[in-house]
Subunit: 806 residues, 2 copies
């Protein structure tokens, strides 16, 4: 899975300089380490279990090596080091002192800030969504106008060449900014946001450059006529905007206040980014409730009731901003941006009384949608791996490939439309309605004679939003023939597959909705159901969305908000139930697949089956590196230089305690800040918190945002004399780290780790007379790949527990 | 808060025999216990902190007593003992052996069962919802028909008396079955379901008798013309149905299978009950998405992504069942049940372009709604406490009070309508539309002359559902005058307050929606906005719902699904934002208030501020009672008899371990089953799991459902000889209990306890050479009342941390 990332690292082909990976905690150092958990403890343990299980024969578990899981992952097409986020409250003296000093005003400021941020995120995302749409409508509209004008003069070859050239240029420029400025902006971005909200941080996921390229690249990519959407990128954009606002100001530019530090932690940032992602969906689909549900169902790992309320407010603001801007544009102030653009299929309400045949057709559609959706996921995975190899070769290759795919797409859409015959307009339509020329509209003229339209061009030779609107439209049963729909479906399905993975911001919603809608219409036509085929298109889109993304409630609500037709609800629910169930038999949802493929260490909801046979100490690797509660400065500095760990247990030793005991956990970032404060003593004595506060501000310990830069250990420049002095770690030690006993079942330890959103978890011994801490468990120690690598024979037991993961 | 429950218990006035309370774990036994946490540890700890805080003066915390929190709570109007639910996986050898023995078929069965149950719950709740509606429509319709007929003959006094008598009889019978059969069925039921889903179990919450009375009582109560709804009771009904189906069959009637035991745990039951509650909302409002969101936002404490999907399926099934039954009734097969009945306000879509004045009106409506909602909550709390005193006096008093309130309601609705003047029908309406006579419809004739209608009677002299429909209806701006609306609003608001709390199943949704809708229309009229006043009624209902229940997304979606008008969304969101924010300044949501008043130990999302200054060992009370891993039978039996604790730490001692160490945790119920298996030995030796499995089945250890009865220790009947023998506790000991170190911050321990849904949490010492377990923390130890009672001076610090609870 991680081969891509690892291969890249080994070859040194990374596009941007890759800093040395910073593992979380005791992953192996240079020296190979044998199994370190005390053998005595283990033998006791297994003896117990064997006895306990009633003499059942259990294979002796052998630990094979140490944790070598990759600390790198692919973000967009960018390989970068990853770190975990930490949602634990670090209850050290600095923190305690800090909150004791807070007045009511600061608490009020903090609350106001939280809400202000959320509402700001909502408005900004709404604005960006509007800008995005207006830009796409204008660029793509101008392109289509030019081409149509040439065709009206019967200069068809020129029209084709112009169309192809426009697309290629747009595609090339999108790929260029993406490849050179921010490779992390390629792709949908939803997997990356999902991983971030699961606690995986990589600098480039939410960097400002990513935001810039995501917006511009998405506009260019959609305008280039690719079979891709702007919805996924909008989610990523929303998250990026939230991350930027959640920086808590910039110290470099003096744009910061002291009290803003209360906001500078991973937890508040996570909440804000959740709001941003929800606002992104809202801005893309104009679906505020759908946005909240998307965040809840697909994006987040942790959810709180208070968050529902804040997210809802954010999406409400987003929706209101969008709505008022569209009102403004209705009067024609926005260039080629007309009524359309923003996906909002005001499909008129149809009478929906359905018979048993209709239900059967819908169930069939659900089954086929599930199958085709699972197949789509399978191919996406395959194709992404192939593309990964090409993308690794460097920026020029990325651009070339993008342009190539653009040419293929142009040929498809123009060529297939050309091969499609002209159909006479239905006589009941008003003359202005059929055929239409130019930017959008149904019944496209293409190069047909007067009074005729080209059915395939009505779908292909349009923006994707307009194609969806045409497919969803009611009362157009006879517009698209079976062959037209079949051709379009195959075209879209294939183009959607080969397009995702090019180095351009590209969402998956639109290709899936388009292929689902055309397939739905096809089934409706073939089945000869009495229902409107436009309705079948909506149901088909739902079935494909359920089959690929495996979202249910959010898809349902988004489609409801798109079509404004509540009477469709039972049909949509039914088809989603069927398609998701069918697709779940084959593989996972497309975003989960991509997360896994990119090597992002995602903590699953359910502990892997293999963990059930293991205990916490089984997966500990490497010798644990601890500090004494009053430690020599040189020793701290050297350890920080030598290892990349982010958390170290602190041991209370003589003379501060009669026997060694666990004092707590100290973070690398806090250690560096403390050392920089130079509160050193010549002898090992407790200096206490007061000394620290004289030299340092609680703000100094706040976590820097994703655009900030934390101090490195090498920037400390300590003198030889200082290196020989002592530093009191008590003030920065988290006195309440979460701990598990060594013989805790690994599955239960994983539940604890995930549910509380930890970064480090201390493993303590069960029996007295041993070191007070045996090791630290981090995210990587809970990765199934790592555990399965450690204990191959545990695999035998794994299927017993799969039922728990339902 | 708990005085009601405790007073009742002391007076011995409980309606049903109250079993001795079974506390969770080491709460104090008869002997008063002094502060037990080792003083040495404490002094070290506080010394540390003082030092750490930089010499800050901190008051010495004094522990004042032991945990005497009530183990009783009020369910409906029934005082009964409560227990906690346990969502931890009890990883003992029985469990391990059990899952090792599961084949693929059993796993498949388990999965199928889970889904089957959920879908069954959905259909049953849908059926009950339909039955409920049809019964109400028929009973209330018949009542209104009779009265109308008398009025048509101008026998107005007789009509009034008949109306009053009908109402009183219906109310009396509802109160009678509620008071005598199942006092737990009184009230809304949502607070009880909320508490159950938080982990508080009381036998009567989900008992079959409660279900029966809830359904019948709700029908009678609504038919009696009370100002109450059937929505809250439907949620409770849904939860009860789910609980009954989730029993995992009945062993008494042989209706059980061996593999069904995998389902017999609190976790799976909780999931199913969540589905049931969601289906209840769906059946009440015909709002499947709203049901899911209600469950998510209001009902549950824990939520998983997988649950979203299952809940959604349940509500989908519910909605489909309801829909098809209504289709069937359209043809007139259901007596007086016509088109209406099921709340589904097919309010036609209005053009909604709003001006700044409209927005201002909506914001004002939000502010007023928030204020009036908060006031409503305040009065509900006051009135419920008053009623509690009356209800305590016994069943006859409950019935008398109910009948009295019914008479007041009848006088109000008939009397106020009589005082209202007759208004000529608007000329543009068809003759059949105004005036209407009989069961439902707008523009009620009451006793007006031909061609006239009585505006107040159109609201009062109707079922509540029809009154809401009339208020929501568009194009009826002039139907209700300002004074009519004002009178109705004051009447409904007051009646709603005095009705909730009578011993009848009674929901709060309908009174709140009714008063909100009338108030909204009033504001719309007074403001003279250009928008339809029917639209203002909807917005007003939203503002009141936001102000009392503090739900946002779910109210929004429920109202959308009710009105089928998506264009209202921005207005509803805006008004909800405002009203919730305003109301939150004054008090908590109405359900949370009631939960607290009833003495249900609800674990809040955020640890109380006072916990931040304490550590885990500070709240430990009573000496911890432990067992040796191989214990004398007599000692186990005596301990079980003497204490009511549900969990006991097991200590591994000589000769099984060189020094005492924590082996795990054993549950009371498992101990009794094990003792009943009589796997005793004469000498203290390990018998191992095999011996246990020879005599007992893993099924025997499964938790009994709420209608079952677990074995008591007194039923064991052990001989004197057996009492002197030894029993090996290893096979039933949970080897992986969650533990915290004694100096763990109490706030962080609370997060662990709540997020993982624990029932017992072991506190272990930090320093060696002490007993391996210092105590057990349970739900009651985290109750703010208890902690504040223990340490009065901690209160000083509390406001510092309130910001964390936003």
């Amino acid at each position: 899975h991680r081969s891509m990332a690892m291969a890249k690292r080994e070859k040194g082909l990374a596009v941007r300089p890759v800093p040395a990976p910073v593992p979380e905690a005791p992953t192996p150092s240079a020296t190979p380490v044998s199994a370190t958990a005390p053998t005595s403890a283990r033998s006791v343990k297994w003896g117990d279990l064997e006895d306990a299980a009633g003499g059942l024969e259990r294979p002796l578990l052998r630990q094979r090596g140490s944790n070598t899981t990759s600390q790198m992952a692919v973000v967009g097409t960018n390989v970068c080091p990853i770190e975990s986020l930490d949602y634990e409250i670090v209850e050290n003296d600095v923190y305690k002192q800090d909150w004791r000093s807070r007045g009511r005003i600061q608490i009020f400021q903090y609350q106001v800030l939280k809400w202000l941020m959320a509402l700001l995120v909502g408005s900004f995302v709404g604005l960006v969504g509007f800008f995005n749409n207006i830009a796409v409508e204008n660029i793509a509209g101008y392109k289509l106008l030019l081409t149509s004008n040439l065709m009206r003069q019967n200069r068809n070859l020129e029209a084709f060449l112009l169309y192809m050239a426009c697309n290629a240029v747009l595609a090339g420029s999108a790929a260029a900014i993406c490849a050179y400025l921010a490779p992390a902006a390629a792709g949908s971005g939803i997997p990356e946001v999902k991983a971030y909200l699961n606690g995986v941080d990589a600098h480039s996921i939410l960097a400002p450059s990513t935001l810039f390229v995501k917006i511009i690249g998405s506009i260019l990519g959609v305008s280039a006529g690719f079979m891709l959407g702007k919805e996924g990128p909008m989610v990523h954009t929303g998250a990026c905007i939230a991350a930027m606002l959640g920086q808590g100001g910039s110290r470099r530019y003096g744009l910061t206040w002291n009290w803003i530090r209360y906001f500078k932690n991973d937890l508040d940032r996570r909440d804000l980014i959740t709001c941003g992602a929800a606002a992104g969906v809202t801005a893309a689909f104009r679906a505020p409730v759908g946005g909240v549900l998307f965040a809840l169902e697909e994006a987040t790992t942790w959810w709180r009731s208070a968050l529902l309320w804040r997210t809802f407010s954010t999406t409400a603001v987003s929706a209101i901003v969008l709505r008022s801007l569209i009102e403004y544009c209705r009067s024609g102030n926005c260039g080629l941006f007309g009524k359309g653009g923003l996906i909002m299929f005001d499909v008129s309400s149809r009478v929906t009384t359905y018979t048993a045949t209709d239900i059967a057709a819908v169930i069939l559609l659900g089954i086929l949608g599930g199958l085709l959706g699972a197949l789509f996921n399978h191919f996406v995975d395959r194709i992404l791996r192939r593309y990964g190899v090409i993308n690794e070769k460097g920026a020029p290759y990325k651009i070339l490939m993008t342009v190539f795919i653009s040419l293929v797409t142009s040929c498809c859409s123009f060529g297939l439309s050309s091969l499609s015959p002209c159909v006479p307009c239905p006589p009941e339509l008003a003359p202005g309605k059929c055929p239409t020329i130019g930017r959008n509209g149904n019944y496209k003229k293409f190069w047909c004679p007067a009074g005729h339209y080209n059915a395939l061009a009505s779908l292909f030779f349009n923006t994707n939003d307009d194609a969806i609107r045409n497919l969803f439209s009611g009362g157009t049963d006879s517009e698209f023939g079976v062959y037209t729909l079949l051709t379009f479906f195959i075209g879209v399905y294939t183009l959607g597959l080969i397009t995702y993975g090019v180095a351009v911001p590209s969402g998956l919603f639109i290709p899936v909705i388009l292929s689902g809608a055309s397939f739905g219409r096809l089934v409706g036509k073939v089945f000869g159901s009495g229902l409107d085929t436009g309705l079948f298109a909506i149901v088909g889109a739902a079935s494909f969305l359920g089959g690929t993304m495996r979202m249910t409630v959010s898809v349902c609500v988004i489609l409801l908000e798109l079509t404004n037709d509540l009477l469709l609800l039972p049909l949509i629910m039914l088809v989603l139930l069927v398609s998701k169930t069918v697709a779940d038999c084959f593989n996972k949802g497309v975003y989960e697949q991509i997360v896994r493929m990119k090597g992002l260490p995602f903590l699953e909801v359910h502990a892997d089956a293999c963990m059930r046979s293991l205990v916490a100490s089984d997966v500990l690797s490497g010798p644990v590196i601890t500090f004494s509660s009053v430690e020599r400065v040189g020793s701290v500095v050297n350890t920080l230089r030598r290892t990349g760990h982010n958390g170290f247990p602190v041991i209370e030793e003589e003379p501060f305690a009669p026997a060694p005991e666990l004092c707590g956990l100290v973070l690398r970032s806090h250690l560096i800040v403390l050392l920089n404060g130079r509160t050193f003593t010549r002898a090992p004595v407790k200096t206490g918190a007061a000394e620290v506060f004289r030299k340092l501000n609680p703000f100094d310990f706040a976590k820097v945002g994703s655009s900030g830069k934390a101090m490195e250990v090498d920037e400390l420049r300590l003198t030889e004399e200082e290196m020989d002095m002592y530093v009191d770690l008590h003030p920065i030690t988290n006195r309440s780290p979460y701990t598990v006993v060594e013989n805790m079942s690994l599955a239960k330890a994983a539940v604890l780790f995930r549910d509380l959103g930890l970064r480090h978890m201390c493993v303590v011994p069960r029996t007295p007379g041993r070191p007070p801490v045996l090791g630290i468990l981090t995210r990587h120690d809970f990765m199934p790949e790592y555990i399965r690598g450690l204990f191959e024979n545990v695999l035998r037991f794994s299927f017993f527990c799969t039922y728990l993961s339902i």
